[in-house]
Symmetry: D2
Subunit: 395 residues, 4 copies
Amino acid sequence: MLSGRGIEVEEVKAQLKAQEIETPSWGYGNSGTRFGVFKQPGAARDVHERLSDAAQVHKVTGVCPGVALHIPWDKVDDYDALGQEAAELGVCIGAINPNVFQEPEYKLGSFGHRDPAVRRKALDHMYECADIMQQTGSTVLSLWFADGTNYPGQDDIIERKRRFEECLRETHAMLPEGARMLIEYKFFEPAFYHTDIADWGMALNFAIKAGPRAEVLVDLGHHPLSTNIEHLVALLLDEGRMGGFHFNNRKYADDDVTTGSVNLYEVFLIYHEILNAERRGAAAANIAYMIDQSHIIKPKVEAMIQSVLNIQTAYARALLVDRTALAEAQAEDDVVAGEEILRNAYDTDVRPLLAIVRQELGAAADPLGAYRRSGYFERIALERQGELKGAASWG
Amino acid sequence: MLSGRGIEVEEVKAQLKAQEIETPSWGYGNSGTRFGVFKQPGAARDVHERLSDAAQVHKVTGVCPGVALHIPWDKVDDYDALGQEAAELGVCIGAINPNVFQEPEYKLGSFGHRDPAVRRKALDHMYECADIMQQTGSTVLSLWFADGTNYPGQDDIIERKRRFEECLRETHAMLPEGARMLIEYKFFEPAFYHTDIADWGMALNFAIKAGPRAEVLVDLGHHPLSTNIEHLVALLLDEGRMGGFHFNNRKYADDDVTTGSVNLYEVFLIYHEILNAERRGAAAANIAYMIDQSHIIKPKVEAMIQSVLNIQTAYARALLVDRTALAEAQAEDDVVAGEEILRNAYDTDVRPLLAIVRQELGAAADPLGAYRRSGYFERIALERQGELKGAASWG
Amino acid sequence: MLSGRGIEVEEVKAQLKAQEIETPSWGYGNSGTRFGVFKQPGAARDVHERLSDAAQVHKVTGVCPGVALHIPWDKVDDYDALGQEAAELGVCIGAINPNVFQEPEYKLGSFGHRDPAVRRKALDHMYECADIMQQTGSTVLSLWFADGTNYPGQDDIIERKRRFEECLRETHAMLPEGARMLIEYKFFEPAFYHTDIADWGMALNFAIKAGPRAEVLVDLGHHPLSTNIEHLVALLLDEGRMGGFHFNNRKYADDDVTTGSVNLYEVFLIYHEILNAERRGAAAANIAYMIDQSHIIKPKVEAMIQSVLNIQTAYARALLVDRTALAEAQAEDDVVAGEEILRNAYDTDVRPLLAIVRQELGAAADPLGAYRRSGYFERIALERQGELKGAASWG
Amino acid sequence: MLSGRGIEVEEVKAQLKAQEIETPSWGYGNSGTRFGVFKQPGAARDVHERLSDAAQVHKVTGVCPGVALHIPWDKVDDYDALGQEAAELGVCIGAINPNVFQEPEYKLGSFGHRDPAVRRKALDHMYECADIMQQTGSTVLSLWFADGTNYPGQDDIIERKRRFEECLRETHAMLPEGARMLIEYKFFEPAFYHTDIADWGMALNFAIKAGPRAEVLVDLGHHPLSTNIEHLVALLLDEGRMGGFHFNNRKYADDDVTTGSVNLYEVFLIYHEILNAERRGAAAANIAYMIDQSHIIKPKVEAMIQSVLNIQTAYARALLVDRTALAEAQAEDDVVAGEEILRNAYDTDVRPLLAIVRQELGAAADPLGAYRRSGYFERIALERQGELKGAASWG
């Protein structure tokens, strides 16, 4: 059916097979809202259980080999052993995520903190993470800062900016060879007056000052409502600083709900811009596609699989856009035709195509069903009782 | 100076002395964001320490005799003794706030839950709270529900609505004589697809169905951005269902920052509508003015004092509006004059007036300074070490 | 394929054939933003040209027999003749939309205006519209008010509320037998401080006071960002006051862009709630489905066809939801399954089904293509030169 | 009183006397919303009447010598004569504002337009404006673009970006010596899918590429809701690219209501950051302070005076901040004290101080009263009847 529309089906399949989506270790453990944490049966308690869960997602989807780690929650003594453990599970270590927001010293900030001792503590943690990157072969340092202020007058905004510039430069200098750092931004929360890295413009500004291997990380939930995110992505690609994504979705604020559960068309439009950039020769292949979700109501592994399927669906549909026809419509100012061409691709039912792709990858035609039937959840719900000694986590 | 402008200063002072603002027991203990709780020195650990802190706020401001309790965090065996303890501190027990969101059973809702057993559990807790009202003489049951869904298809929205109607009717029936129940609404969080009581319209609809003693509670941070809150307050007053406030402020979402710290003019405009309603004969005097704030960065007691001062300031300025001149401007369609009359009142420096009022009330002319000089904070920071046996709280 | 999934295809087809979407006369003429109006070739200049354009939309889609009129723009001397003209074109007169915002007297309001003479003028216009309803057999009076204030102090909010209550009651009393009035709300614009009917709660409150034949009209673009509209629709249906829709879409404010162009899933979820209500026995069949869009960039008729197709698509997909399976998932608290059931229906490619339905209705399998090939646009672009004597319109 | 608080009153007065706020010629003529234009008695019809009105504002406030022109609405044959006319009225020509959004060719864009002929037309208009700058001695070219798209697929976002970069570079090259260009951004409207210059980050990016004399213009109403504008201003100052302001206020979208009418504290916080930057040595003195408001309900001249007074008030209060004490509070992490220091300045009643400043400037102690008493409005309301030949304007 698709080939009748002039789509090179084999090429589309090849691109879908090459897709990689990294899942986060912290997405498999308990988490919650500020009103409470509801503990789930089978929630992963340490990095080993998290890798095991991530491996399940990869097994049924075939496109999730990487697992992002969060330090210190995923700290181990022997990273060689951890890498081997991952390899045996069929996955590998992905981005390293430092944590400079949880300890009491960071109450008023980390890289933006007034006190040089706190900034030094945060930088020391970065050295530790750079070391873990070296040991695990990770090439991505993924930086999110909770820094900001809650009240006017609390601190000097520009002094904070300059402290950030200095610390980010030092962090850039410690990156292992071949590695890069991604700077995440967030419109608000946990800071409620100003956030030191509040939008893509600030992240880009800091990245440029930090060095050539600093790029911007786009978390889909970190914008003001109704922001045109695909516009920002296109622009960052054109500037050579589009580093990666944190996929999730939101209806209100930073809800962290399943990617595509509110508006999958938005994810499709983002992929459309990425494919546009690739056609222009942008280094789009270098984007780190990562999920960042924290499920409170849904079972963790199922929710992760759902997200992966949604992202795959959006990508597959974007691959079906007839770009030649689109360019023609645009050249004739035919707004209706231009939109219809996108919608025709988006309205296509790609489930049969994706089932074939997954089977050819050795994964499951119906990943959610396969996972449910596997008995994995029943097993971990039974096995994972009590707390593990030495385990660290979110909540 | 004011009397020169035709203001009856003594009347204004009398109204300011009659003002009462209730502070919440949970505002004196530790709390946080979903990213973590930063423990504060001297944070209150149980209801006794909370009453003590609340008494400090009343002591220096003179307008905060009431203390709202949160059940089960503030549960005691002997409420007579608790009332006496409060009285000795110069304060009294205010609104009773049930908690039907924290226990695991409430993961998918309380009054809206599909399972009758969960609804029964929530109703049993309401009976318990009604009983505590009887014992403490509290006349306000303050209801907030975390109920909602995170995904389309999770539950049937209308079935949930009907469950709420039924449970709220039963709650109304259990109110002690002379007491009323306030129904709070919230636009979103912790639910991220739909919230069962999402706006004032839903709260009013539920209140009407519950019975004559059910009213609406307006939390200043629970609206979509740029909502005209004073409009809603005016309307609810005109409908006879304006029950009370939860004061706080927000710049982004439900930030729970100091009342008036983002835009005090909004609080002034709310008081202006209340005073308008009083002139029309509405039962405005029956509004429960309560603070609901959770301070993460600021010391708890200081932040509470600041909030009280801001609310006082807004009220004092609203009392200075020349309502006769305003009515004249409106009768002549003089939009500029109408606004200037409000602004003239708002631009007045009421600090000297408030200092006098406070002194005449036996409180402090400079409440923040007096509190800081009192040594209270140093004392509790020293004394309140470790956890108290049997103490319950937010985090 | 669908029947294999247990869907009663013939029933679905019957429901799709019974669907009716009214298009607005004012959607076929020139309009613009406050920055300017770009005149389009072939834009309809009077009611006759507007009916002709609407007939084209109905001809190719088969589901748009009704045409909403705007008074005074569509005023004629002989409504019998107008009805006959419509009938000959294959369409009929739909809702009557009064205009109480354009004349200079309405600068500070209509039903909310301080001056009884202005309110009387607005009421006289309502009598005129009720008379036109009688003559045209229209059963829907569709009320939108631009009333509000731009500054605090400009007018008394509660006095305005009471004036509205009185005028709406009088309007209700003048409704022809069998007719009803729909009260539209809007969060903001053109008023920028307060809007007299700002949300569904105010519209419902006014409707209840006006009388049993007053209902609420939901315009999809008139809410705060991220409002859960399907929740409001479900609630209004349950209260028996859901009167009708103004379909359009928005990304930012009241953008009036093509329905479904930003997020078609939202339209699907709205239809899902309507079908839920129908299953409960609600009078959902009585909803007036109307488009309210003002296209600036796209050709008018094409944009209207696109919108109709999108609405049809959303409805068709909602009809495919497996409601039995959904109820089962909800009964087991299976959040993932509940969502997947909705998504399975939504991800279905309904274009082949809709093509068959349209052909069986005698319309076009490919409405946009058929319209483009018909030569209609080329003809009107040529014929409609200059201004028509006595023609009135938006800009 | 102030001097008692350690404020150098004479220095504050000197700074207040040095303040300059430019008013816009288009702010004195008729304008409206997309729902209609309400013509005001006495509304200025051509550039001569606009200059006369602007001179009234300067006469009573003493701080508004500059008048921004909008080309082509303010085009004249003889700019020398216009300059002389302005000088005789006591004012002078300020920023030049090109218009590349009103003519039919610009329907799909100007600098971003696909068609090189349209971009050339827009650039030709820029040459014309640069020529007018030369003739009038204006040193500011103030650029706002309505460019964007309404639908996905309408145009190629990145091609548009590159066209903008090229055209802005050419515009930079044509700037008269000593002049600069300010690039304005806007979150949305009139474009409703993407806006080519949507935020400060894009404006800065374009400015950097255009050249050293390109800076960013901040319009207070052009941000997503709850954006921390003072943060952006501080950052742009630190980057040396803060070019100027368009003052106005909004509660909802780009409402263009009186500056400070919704939240004057925000304007105060912006001035606070500017003063912080000045203390650091930033070229803050080079900011162009301009009003951009379009009054629909209020009489034009009165509304402009009100805005000027509000801006003055915010500036005066910011000058009263005790910066030494603030730095001390920040050095001690005393969040409450830091905020209180700002609030102490903001709560000061600066009306007496401003009255003295104005009188010493030869303006009116009570500008609004003086204007109302002057009889100017009654005269223009009488004189300005009918349309002027050759006059161009907004609506």
